[in-house]
Structures are given as C-alpha cells and as structure tokens.
Amino acid sequence: MQYTFRIKRYDPDIDVKPHFEEYAVDLEPSDRVLDGLNEIKWQQDGTLTYRRSCAHGVCGSDAMRINGRNFLACKTLMKEFGKKITVEPLIGFTVIKDLVVDMDQFFASYKAVKPYLIAGDAPASEERRQTPEQLDRYEEATKCILCASCTTSCPITWTNESFVGPAAIVNAARFIYDSRDEGAAERLRILNTQSGVWRCRTVFNCTEACPRDIKVTNIIEDVKRTLLLEQV
C-alpha cells in the first residue's frame, strides 16, 4: 500500500528555516512508522536524519511528532494513521537536524532531581528488604525510558524553559516512593517550587503521550499531594 510521508526537514548547514518534504513509500499497514522512515533514508534520500536504535519501543530514541501527537516511531504502526502522515521533530527543544532535537535540557532536568538511590550503608551480603506491596508503590515510574514524549507534549514546557517537566518528576517519584530511599525530602524541596510540580496545570497530555503507559499526570498529582500533606 502506498503512503505519503510529509516530513519537516531542516539542515542547519543548508537551510535558513525548516520546510516540509513529501515522500511516497510502499508499506504494509502492519509496518512501523520507523520502517517507513528507514525506507525513505535507505532507498530515496540518505540525508533524512532521525535517531533510532532498538526498533521495538524500549530504548526511547525515536520519539517524534506524528500527525500532531508524540509517538515512538518504532512502536506505532502505519495502520493507526491514514494514507498521509505528517512527521515533525518534538516541540520545545532546539532542532539539530530534521527530526533530531537537542536533548541537553531534558537530561539536565532529569539530573536535577537526583535520580539515584540515596540511602545509608546496605546490609552486608544481603539485599535490602522490600515487600511486593512496597515495590508496587513506585514500580510504574521505573518503566520510564527517558524518550521525552511526555515532557515535549506539555504546553508548559513549550513556553517555560525552567519547568523540570513530567519526565523528571516521574523519575523523582520513582525514588521518593521507594521504601529503601532516604532522599525524599531533598527531592521534594526541589519539586516544591514554581519550576517544579506547581507549574503543572494537569493538562494530561503527558499521560496520553507516554509510550510506556505510565499514568504520568497521576504521579505528578501524587507528588503534589505528598507536598501538601507533608508525608511520603
């Protein structure tokens, strides 16, 4: 079946501003959008540039905007769209080239929330105990693959560079609610600011965009509740 890809292109070495180019590609409805991009790059135009690696939705490289919403190109099949699809880079970050955006700010926000276990000495030759119920409390947040689909779907991040964004909050929550962690107070202090959770307006775009089905907005609300009630 023939599909038309309308792709936003920009090469800083050549272009003054971004423009759209169209490509006709033969694909099966069961093919991934990534298969279509590969077909274009490999058979028609090798200059088309995008990130990709695992090709099955676990590495988080190929988040992009497809028909106006964020998806992983490798976890989205052609049959989910019509015969013409529009592909653009994520919004809110500087475009480096075509569908490749600058992720520096995204990872800086992630690092800012101390995304690592903060705990005293572990018992010798034994695990720290944690019950299945305690694991349940934060497990959903551990599924995050740092693809930036949520953060770049959030209208607040489009206009406010200082907002840490949904992905950073999810990764803070992953530790705040981990029974082994002792750094909740530090992280809550970071999130209890105008550039932290209070900037969130509960638009739910992030939840809709998450390719790992994490209920991102609920997790942000959870952190807000914790701050209001001052208890983890």
């Binding site: 070495d13 069961s30 991934r32 090798g46 099955h56 976890k75 695990e127």
Partner: protein, 576 residues
C-alpha cells in the same frame, strides 16, 4: 583537532561499560563514549533475568551455576572464568540491589527468583529458580540503575560520539581512541592510559535479529583492524523465540513461567527432543528443534514459524511477570497472548565470541595468554570465555556486571601506576581518511542495498545450520560485498549529525564481523553448541576442544587454536 585526555576511556555505555565506569568514578578521571545516549544501549532490551545462586526460593549453590554454564556452553567454556562468574554473581547482583534496582520480591521481601533455560539443581537433575528479575525488563532496570549511579558519581559522558579508531602507541600500548562527534562532525582524539571496549554485539549482520540497529560490531572490527585477535567468532546464538519476521525478542522467561512451544499440529514438541528440561533446554538446542520441526513440515500452515503458547498461564502471571513481551505481541502482531499463541522464529541474538580477555578484562594478544598493555574489553564485546559455544539465558547480564566490575577495578589500579603513553604520530590520520573517503565518493551502489545483501546472505548461509557448501557461498558473497563497499556512495555530505555517514562506517564493521564468523565456522569441522554443521554433525573433542583465535595480518586472516581451561568438569555428552 579536539583533544581530551583521561586516565581511562570506556567505549560503550551499556551494562559492562557503566559497571566499569562506576568502579573508577571519583577516583580517576574517566570518560564513557557512546554513539547513543547511554540509556539507549542494548542492555536495556534484556528481559528475563540475571542469575545468581542466592537460594532465596529454593536450594542453590554457585557450583551448580558453574556446572550449568560449562555444560550449557558445550564444554568450550573456560572453567576458571565460569567459576568467577558463578561465585561473583551473588555479590554483584546484591550490589545492583544496593544501588536501588527494583527487583521483584518474595512475600517476605527477599529478591524473587525464577526458572530459566539450562539452569538446574544438583548438576542437571531438573530446573532451578535462579534468575533474579525485574518483571520482564531486567536489562532496562540494570541500565537505568547503572546510569543513575553514573550521574551520582559525576562520570563524564561523551554522548553521541561515534568511535572510529583505536590508538596504539609505538611501543604497543593502547593509548586512546579517535571519535566523531555526531552533532558537529568534529573529530576528537581521546587520549588515555587505558581503553575498555564494551560496545555490545553485531546481531545486525543477520536479517532477523533481536539486536538494536546500533548492534553493528564496531567494537569488534576497530580493534581487529589494529591487529587485536577475535576469539570463537563462529559461535553466534539464535534465540528460539523472536517475533515472526520482526525478530523482536520474547524472553525465555515466558517458558520459565510455563509457556510452551507448539508446532503446526499443536504438539508440544520440545519434550520429544529434551525429555528432562523440555522447553527449558538451552537456546542452541531449542532453536534447532524449531528448525527441525519446520524442515519436517510441522511449521504452522507449512510456513517457517511455530507458536509460543502462554494462553494457559494465569492472567496475573502474564500481567505481573511478563507485561512487556505480551505488550509487544499486542503492538506488533495484534494478538492477545492471554487467548492466542504467538508466531515465533529463531532470531539472531548474541555473540559468544569476541575480544579475548583474561579474568580482569585485559585483552589477550595471542593464544599464549600475553596481554596488550592498557587494552581491556568486557560484556558481549569480549570473550572471557564464560559462554563457550552457547550462552545460557541470564548469563549475559551476569557477565556484564561481574566482568565489567573486574575490568573497571583493574583499570583503576593500572591507571594509578602508569603514565599517559605518547600518542602515535598523526593519531587521527586513519580516522580522517576513512571519513573523508566516504564523504567524497560520487554516487555509487547504496549502502542500504549492500547491507541488505549481507544480512540475507548471513541468515541463509551461516545461521542456525551450516555446511562447508553454505559457508563457502557466504565467504564468496562477503568478498563480493566488500569489493562493492569500496565504491558505495552516500547522499549526505554534510557535517551535522550525518547518520548516512555513520551507517556507511557501520557497514564496514559488519562486513569484518561477518567475515570473522564465516572464517571460524569454516575452520571448525565439528558441531558444538550454537555452531551446527550438517557435514560434521558431531562434537569432536579430540581436535576441537579448542578456542579459535583469528587475527588480521598483512598476509590475510590467520587462525590459531587456544587451549580451553578445564578445572572441575570433564567434557561429557550434552543431554537434557
């Protein structure tokens, strides 16, 4: 020229590279280079578990784990290395937990464990629960946890730098790498006292693979071109259960939790071949069972696939222990695994072979065990050898953490007592020539077409079943592809994020890897583990209880044999 210098440089930001980095962080000035962002590394795609004889849910001992590793590898495993693997797995897995890894738990809060292929109690009596796991995303959690530790310890990451060359000083010491910064197109010299290659595998040389698109074997080809040997390259593992046509992995944990393979007649065929372990026999064997069923006309609808059936499992086992892989079936096949079986075929998965190392990750120069000063390797990139002729499920993750850690510790010590070796004259010469050659070529045959030819050739002629005839066809095909590659052209001649260029460079590495696989496979006139030849169907311990070591010399490829370390377990017939 952009110049950096460090005590140590690590190529690859997956499990092995990060584990090594964490040993040195804060104590030495180090850099981790990756052509991706670290969290995109393929360790993150590992699913089912990481084995350690913790004995949390039933009796277990590291000696049993060692035995299973040796037998699973069809006795080509170096037993001194397997002992280190099985002993240190226990402490290494606990270290991951202490770093915060969210393992699944038993009701009393211990780390839960489950069954996996080839892992047994009491030296082969029956399956044992040895694999610690985080749902079916254990690799994802290892990668995230180690990256988190890297951030905590302020490791320097050179993200999206494509390594082009290994630097060797005039007196034969490793002294750094040359890399292309994707974002700018700038070439960097990264000067260091030691270099660790931990950049994963090369599954992309086959057309059906579970490997990421980044798995192009750069870390094999680049040192190989500099005269570093590669060991046991003929042993390439096909995982039995890849999603039909896509190759996407469906974890062995699916069978560990009770999933069953069925042929086109609905028969649970594994028990015919392996009466004791059935569906949990090692991967090389199960892949051949599937091949045999299909060959004898019992594939589904006469086609080249069979079913993995989970429909009889309790729903909460699927939701709690196998959520990701069942999601893959829904996404890519439109199948609900709670009701319907999933079409699967063997998929190229893991290189048992690689850069030969000693127990501290030091790279061996030859079959006598001499090492190359300052050069290290770990993970899938390396061959210690703990996997021998066939790796057991979960042991790749064990290998990463155990030998990544040992390499990192040794590099730290090495860096404290040695100086920065002098760089060779014009260190970027080779790398620059390679890049400018590809960038300046007129339009020629497309890189993608040659890559496609190579992948089909390797899949058809050098995968699960081989013969002198098929391997000779493969060898001739590779020669043809190599000569076309010299004239292949690319479309993108720019400097910013030129992935057309890097795909071209990667194809060069893939051709080198394919050639090494075929060379080893042609030489090894026996069948052992994942290497199965129809013209030599039996194992031959008299002539081939040996590693192969392949080196690039001015006169072409040179193959020698290396002795296998046998300490505890004498080779026996391998039955399950």
């Amino acid at each position: 020229m952009a110049y950096h210098h460090y005590d140590a440089v690590i190529v690859g930001a997956g499990g092995a590279g990060l584990m090594a980095a964490i040993q040195m962080a804060g104590k030495a000035n180090i850099a981790v280079i990756s052509k991706l962002y670290p969290t995109r590394s393929h360790t993150g795609a590992a699913q089912g578990g990481i084995s350690a004889a913790l004995g949390n849910v039933e009796e277990d001992h590291w000696q049993w784990h060692m035995f299973d590793t040796v037998k699973g590898g069809d006795y080509l495993v170096d037993q001194d290395a397997a002992e280190v693997l099985a002993r240190e797995a226990i402490d290494a897995v606990l270290e991951l937990e202490h770093m915060g890894l969210p393992f699944n738990r038993t009701p009393d809060g211990r780390m839960d464990q489950r069954r996996f292929g080839g892992h047994t109690r009491n030296f082969g009596e029956g399956p044992v629960k040895r694999a610690c796991y985080a749902a079916d995303r254990t690799g994802h959690m290892i990668l995230q946890t180690l990256y988190q530790q890297g951030i905590k310890h302020q490791v320097n990451f050179l993200d999206e730098f494509h390594v082009l060359d290994l630097l060797v000083s005039d007196d034969g010491r490793a002294c750094g790498v040359v890399a292309l910064e994707l974002r700018t197109g700038e070439i960097h010299t990264v000067h260091a006292k030691s270099v660790l290659w931990a950049s994963g595998g090369f599954g992309r040389i086959f057309s059906v693979t579970s490997n990421a698109m980044a798995g192009t074997g750069d870390g094999f080809a680049i040192p190989f071109r500099r005269g570093v040997p590669l060991m046991d390259m003929e042993f390439y593992q096909f995982h039995p259960t890849g999603i039909y046509k896509f190759g996407i992995l469906l974890s062995e944990a699916a069978r560990g939790e009770g999933g069953i393979l069925r042929n086109g007649l609905g028969e649970a065929f594994a028990e015919r071949y392996a009466p004791t372990l059935k569906d949990l026999a090692p991967r090389d064997m199960v892949s051949r069972f599937i091949y045999q069923e299909i060959k004898e006309g019992r594939g589904v609808d006469g086609k080249d696939y069979v079913y993995l059936d989970l429909s009889h499992l309790p729903e909460d086992v699927i939701d709690k222990k196998l959520p990701d892989i069942t999601d893959f079936a829904r996404t890519y096949l439109g199948i609900e695994p709670k009701r319907d079986p999933m079409p699967i075929q063997p998929t190229a998965h893991y290189a048992m072979g690689g850069i030969p190392t000693d127990l501290d990750g030091r790279v061996l120069a030859d079959a006598d065990g001499d090492t190359i000063t300052g050069l290290y390797s770990a993970g899938e990139n390396a061959c210690v050898s703990v996997h021998g002729a066939n790796r057991l499920g979960t042991n790749s993750l064990v290998d990463l953490v155990v030998f990544g850690r040992r390499a990192g510790r040794h590099m730290l010590e090495f860096g404290q007592k040695s100086d920065l070796p002098p760089l060779p004259v014009d260190p970027e010469f080779v790398a620059r020539a390679q890049v400018s050659d590809l960038l300046s070529r007129p339009k020629g045959e497309r890189i993608a077409d040659l890559r496609h030819d190579l992948q089909s050739l390797m899949m058809d002629q050098a995968s699960v079943v081989r013969s002198a005839e098929s391997l000779t066809t493969a060898k001739q095909g590779i020669t043809r592809i190599r000569s076309s590659y010299a004239y292949a052209g690319i479309d993108d001649h720019g400097s910013t994020f030129n992935t057309d260029l890097t795909e071209g460079l990667e194809l060069g590495a893939m051709i080198d890897c394919a050639e090494a696989v075929v060379e080893g496979a042609l030489a090894r006139e026996e069948s052992r583990g994942a290497h199965y030849r129809t013209d030599f169907p039996d194992r031959d311990d008299v002539n081939w209880l040996k590693h192969t070591m392949l080196r690039k010399t001015s006169g072409g490829l040179e193959l020698t044999k290396k002795t296998v370390s046998i300490t505890e377990f004498q080779p026996k017939e391998r039955k399950y």
